[in-house]
């Protein structure tokens, strides 16, 4: 059974803190993605990665960075958390190469920034 796990289901942080969200997949997928999900806005792509040490900006990368040191792990970093980063964060992974490859999602991390 395919598995994408995220390090925390719920997280509360203070403004200005550095926040790490971890995502691990066990399917040997090349592609990994970070989205944020907000009511009425659907899913918006923050960053994605095609391979280890590679990263590409998505639609809303400002205020975020990512790290991919190992194939199975993709981390999202909020350098200095702000209240407008309160959101649900979803990680996903897929095989490389085909546009129709299914993305597999983790359960999400609900982040509250106070």
């Amino acid at each position: 059974d395919v598995k994408v796990t995220q390090s925390s289901r719920y997280l509360v942080k203070r403004t200005g803190e550095k926040v790490f969200l971890e995502c691990v997949q066990d399917m040997d997928h090349e592609n990994m993605f970070w989205y944020r999900q907000d009511p009425g806005l659907g899913l918006r792509l923050i960053y994605f990665s095609y391979d280890v040490k590679m990263k590409e900006k998505g639609d809303i990368p400002e205020g975020y960075s990512v790290s991919r040191e190992k194939k199975e792990r993709f981390s999202l970093i909020l350098e200095s958390a702000s209240t407008n980063q309160t959101s649900m964060y979803l990680c996903a992974s897929s095989f490389l190469g085909e546009e129709y490859e299914t993305q597999y999602f983790g359960p999400g991390t609900r982040l509250l920034v106070l």
Partner: protein, 111 residues
């Protein structure tokens, strides 16, 4: 540019009644289309996808969708909904190695 429009943000429907969730896309090239479902407090999972061939695609949990190229639509249907279908449904279109998601439709099942 590709985009996805889900015309209804919320759809209430009585249990055992049929439902249709609407999705329109815009694209200048051939596309792959998806429907994902998000149950409460969970991540998204794939319901079904259209790649090519038959325009009627069957997915999990009794859902199906019909690709209509002339109307650029990919509406999701189920003939009889159950309380367990309560979820948010996302239509999506492929773009290279990324997927563009619609804003979602919340399906409320009424007893």
């Amino acid at each position: 540019a590709q985009s996805v429009t889900q015309l209804d943000s919320q759809v209430p429907v009585f249990e055992e009644a049929p439902v249709e969730l609407r999705c329109n896309y815009s694209s200048s090239v051939s596309v792959y289309l998806f429907w994902y479902v998000q149950y409460p407090n969970q991540g998204l999972q794939l319901l079904l996808k259209y790649l090519s061939g038959s325009t009627l695609v069957k997915g999990i949990n009794g859902f199906e969708a019909e690709f209509n190229k002339s109307q650029t639509s990919f509406h999701l249907r189920k003939p009889s909904v159950h309380i367990s279908d309560t979820a948010e449904y996302f239509c999506a279109v492929s773009l290279e190695d990324k997927i563009i998601f619609g804003k979602g439709t919340r399906l409320h099942i009424l007893p």
